[in-house]
Structure formats: C-alpha cells, structure tokens
Symmetry: C2
Subunit: 88 residues, 2 copies
C-alpha cells in the first residue's frame, strides 16, 4: 500500500530518531512528511520502532494508508526540497 | 474528492495567511497538515489564493488528491491536537 506519514514531534533526540526510522522505510517529501510504498508488516515494524521513542502525551503522528496508489495524485506548488539540504 | 495538504512555508505573514486560507476550505490536522473533502473548483480557488501569497522559490506545498475517500484510512499515534491550542 501507499502511505503518507506526517509528524509533529517536540524538537530533540526523539525527533531526529523518528526521522531516521522513517527514512529507512519511506521517502522524505517535506519538512515533516514522509511517503512511499510499504507492506503491512514493514509499516507495523516502522510504527513499533517509533512508538517506543515518542512521547505519546506530547507528540503526534498521522499515518494515511491508501489501498490503491492509482487513486492518489500528488501535486507540488512552489519549490522541491531535498532531505539532505534540510537535515544534513 | 479527499485531499491532504502539507506545507513548508518560511515563518512570517505568508505562512499565517496560508493557514487562514486552508482553514476556510479544509480541516486542520497537525502542525503543517490540512485535510478534507473538497470539490475540484474549490480546490482550484484555494490553491490560486495560496499561490498568490507564497514565495515559489522558498516555499512548498504538496496536495495529495484521493479520488475515493473509501480508499484512505487514517491512524493516529500519540496525542490529538487542536488548531486553537496551536495557533490561537
């Protein structure tokens, strides 16, 4: 399936670690958004890793699962940014 | 159709104005994410308003259009936040 993951995590180690985990499984799109094709089991593993890190009283992560990627169309307005120029 | 809009806009007036425009048409989900049901014509109007405000060399906005909302499932990990507690 195709997923879009958006996160709102307090600045600090958990934020950096969450970005690293998401980068293992998905493709960075923008500031706090990752996306990509992923299997159920890998998504489960990814989210388990993240859940062990985040503060569930402060942080939030939304996962939008789209069953058929044919049903989704993505449009960009403005500039394309790369992960490396943002975080490295 | 159902849309997810994510933005990465430099702090300042254009960011606040973009949030206000998106709030007219969609529902705020998280830090820099809005979502909701919208018609083609309203989405076009919304994005025209935003394009006239943002700096296309610095800012970026992604619009994910999902044709059939039945194809999308949303999961929250962590805490639910409200627009008002974030920005008012």
């Amino acid at each position: 399936m195709f997923v879009i993951v958006t996160y709102d995590i307090v600045e600090g180690k958990p934020l950096n670690r969450t970005r690293k985990i998401l980068k293992k499984y998905l493709t960075w799109t923008q500031n706090s958004v990752f996306e990509g094709e992923i299997t159920d089991s890998k998504l489960h593993k990814c989210m388990s890793e993240i859940e062990s890190i985040i503060d569930k009283k402060m942080d939030s992560i939304y996962v939008y699962e789209i069953k058929n990627p044919k049903n989704i169309e993505k449009k960009l307005y403005g500039v394309h940014k790369s992960f490396d120029e943002m975080f490295l």
